[in-house]
């Protein structure tokens, strides 16, 4: 198990990137075109349409269709405290879930990297939360696990003086984040474990012979080796968790109040309850612009993790 290190020079067969004949160039391009056109059409057209609607006043429930309103949707977005709050909440949710999941993931991976009785069984148990359908996980946590009257969590915490806490109304945000962490720690564990297992055993052996302690070995050798794996885990985890919707919708419905409303849920509400296509589109455009800024950094990180050489202009 290793991170692919040589994506840069793929072709083992004769390549002629320069001075390639037109026919050859088209022969190479042809297989790419269907997928490229498909992705452009399906993912980019909705964005263009979103841009257009963001300048329109359009409510599903108001007859007469869309009409141009200039920048008023954007004014609303920027003056809307709910939009800003849900944006901040998205960042808080994603960052805390990803960071805690990664810390737990590293710890678990180190535990699982040792040889012990029943290792395969424990590893299988640990990855299972990630395999549970997110909607199922959200509903099972909301009901059988966290219910104030019969939930398992309250029963398990009873010896610690916890009595029938209504987690989803008093600790809503934390509860949602805990479920995200529960689902994503296995993912981080798997990635970090792959990193640990790709570590050459002889360097560790050498460190041991040199009398390095376990902690020093971890800090000086293992952690630098794990770095690309940790970056990859954080990056991919963030991509998925920033879109987290299932847990919010099914555990708290964004509440109580708006205390768990993240950006995806906010936009969902705009469309489904306020029927405000124009407003949602403007909020969407702002979201996309912010995402592009973050994604530019993320893509650079990707390039580094996959060890692409820097693309020339």
């Amino acid at each position: 198990m290793t991170v692919v290190e040589d994506l840069a020079p793929p072709p083992k067969v004769e390549v002629r990137p320069r001075g390639m004949s037109r026919r050859e160039a088209w022969q190479r391009r042809l297989p790419l075109l269907p997928a490229l056109i498909y992705v452009v059409v399906v993912t980019q057209i909705p964005f263009v349409v979103t841009l257009w609607y963001s300048f329109q006043n359009y409510f599903f429930d108001v007859p007469g269709g869309a009409h141009f309103t200039g920048l008023s949707n954007y004014t609303t977005v920027f003056t809307n405290a709910n939009f800003r709050a849900s944006l901040v909440r998205s960042v808080v949710m994603t960052a805390s879930a990803v960071i805690v999941a990664m810390v737990l993931g590293v710890a678990l991976a180190i535990l699982l990297d040792r040889k012990f009785f029943g290792r395969g069984v424990v590893r299988t148990m640990v990855i299972t939360p990630f395999l549970v359908m997110p909607a199922a996980a959200a509903l099972v946590w909301a009901g059988p696990m966290l219910d104030p009257n019969f939930g398992l969590v309250n029963w398990l915490l009873q010896p610690f003086g916890v009595h029938h806490v209504a987690w989803l109304s008093t600790q809503a945000l934390a509860s949602v984040i805990v479920v995200m962490i529960w689902q994503w720690t296995p993912f981080m564990t798997l990635i970090v474990l792959a990193g640990l297992q790709s570590q050459p055993p002889d360097t560790l052996e050498a460190a041991k012979v040199d009398g390095a302690g376990a902690f020093a070995t971890f800090r000086e050798l293992t952690l630098p080796h794990l770095r690309p794996y940790i970056e990859l885990g954080i990056l991919l985890g963030s991509i998925y968790l920033v879109n987290a919707f299932d847990a919010v919708r099914l555990m708290t419905n964004g509440g109580p109040g708006t205390s768990t409303t993240n950006l995806p849920f906010y936009l969902y509400q705009q469309v489904n309850y306020a029927f405000d296509v124009g407003g949602a589109a403007a909020a969407g455009v702002v979201t996309v612009i912010l995402t592009i800024i973050v994604a530019t950094f993320a893509l650079r990180m990707f390039a580094r993790v996959f060890q692409f050489e820097e693309a020339k202009g």
Binding site: V121, V132, V140, L267, V277, F308
Partner: protein, 285 residues
């Protein structure tokens, strides 16, 4: 130098300390593993309870198991599971049909700007689909695709295609160059090279790619919830419908959640290694 003689010379107490330390770590790992697994186990246990035993204080651990709730699920899930299977299989087939040639054009005989191509595909994964959900609804409505399985297949394909291209490409890069060379010396054209050399070699990789795509499509809720009502409602929506406004539902919900999750859990258990590779988009082998 081997480790054995060194170890044999260690004084006795140290060996005992080391042994008990190992046992301590093993126990800790088991405890953490069980803690992570408990919610899943509780879901499955609750699914076998009669409804009256599911909402008690303290929670019941001893009860007469019943399949009643499973029977209820199997009598009600018909259209939902059918839609889910069609959307999942349909989109995965389409992903492979589009993804294999694209991955080929980005690896074996790469196009000039293959790096840009790869990054374009992955960048579409970063753009939040939630941002376009309103207009997407309007587009679907106007093109008469709202609440249809075609819509889900089209969108799930776009959702999984970038991941699949990255993953399949990583498998294609592993096809030994000598094999391609040999095929070419035998006079094989590119199509025959593909069908008789590349595809057989990467077929296990295609299977794990397909599995990953199926997991994501099977679990998808946001698009299904926004863009379908009855004609294309999928399993996650069946789960939501299993939570009624009033009355006891915990056992029923648990049975539905178990049934909905089991296929992915089993596939994931069996294919743990391909899971890692798939989730890292081919970066980790």
């Amino acid at each position: 130098m081997t480790a054995m003689p060194v170890r044999a010379r260690e004084p006795r107490p140290q060996r005992i300390r080391e042994w008990s330390g190992n046992v301590g770590w093993a126990v800790l790992t088991w405890v953490v593993g069980i803690a992570f697994f408990t919610p899943v186990l509780w879901m499955v246990i609750t699914a076998f309870k009669p409804e009256s035993a599911a909402e008690t204080w303290p929670p019941k651990f001893v009860f007469t198991p019943t399949l009643a709730e499973f029977h209820l699920v199997f009598s009600g899930w018909g259209p939902f599971v059918t839609h889910s299977i069609i959307a999942t299989v349909g989109s995965t087939v389409l992903v492979l049909l589009l993804g294999v040639p694209a991955a080929y054009a980005l690896s074996v005989y790469p196009v000039k700007h293959w790096r840009d191509g790869l990054f374009f595909f992955i960048s579409t994964k970063m753009l939040p689909i939630v941002a376009v959900i309103g207009p997407l609804y309007v587009i679907a409505l106007k093109s008469h695709l709202l609440d249809s399985l075609w819509l889900l297949i089209i969108l799930y394909t776009a959702m999984n295609l970038p991941l699949a291209i990255w993953m399949i490409r990583s498998f294609m890069l592993e096809v030994p160059g000598e094999l391609l060379e040999a095929a070419r010396l035998d006079g094989a054209g590119r199509i025959r090279e593909m069908t008789s050399v590349i595809l057989p070699v990467i077929s296990p990789g295609l299977v794990s790619t397909a599995l990953i795509c199926m997991i994501f499509a099977w679990n998808e809720l946001f698009l299904a919830l926004n863009l379908t009502i009855t004609n294309a409602a999928t399993m996650p929506m069946y789960l939501i419908s299993s939570v009624p406004q009033e009355g006891l539902y915990i056992a029923h919900l648990s049975a539905a959640a178990t049934v909905a999750s089991i296929p992915v859990i089993i596939v994931g258990w069996l294919a743990q290694r391909s899971l890692v590779r798939g989730l890292s988009m081919g970066a980790i082998k």
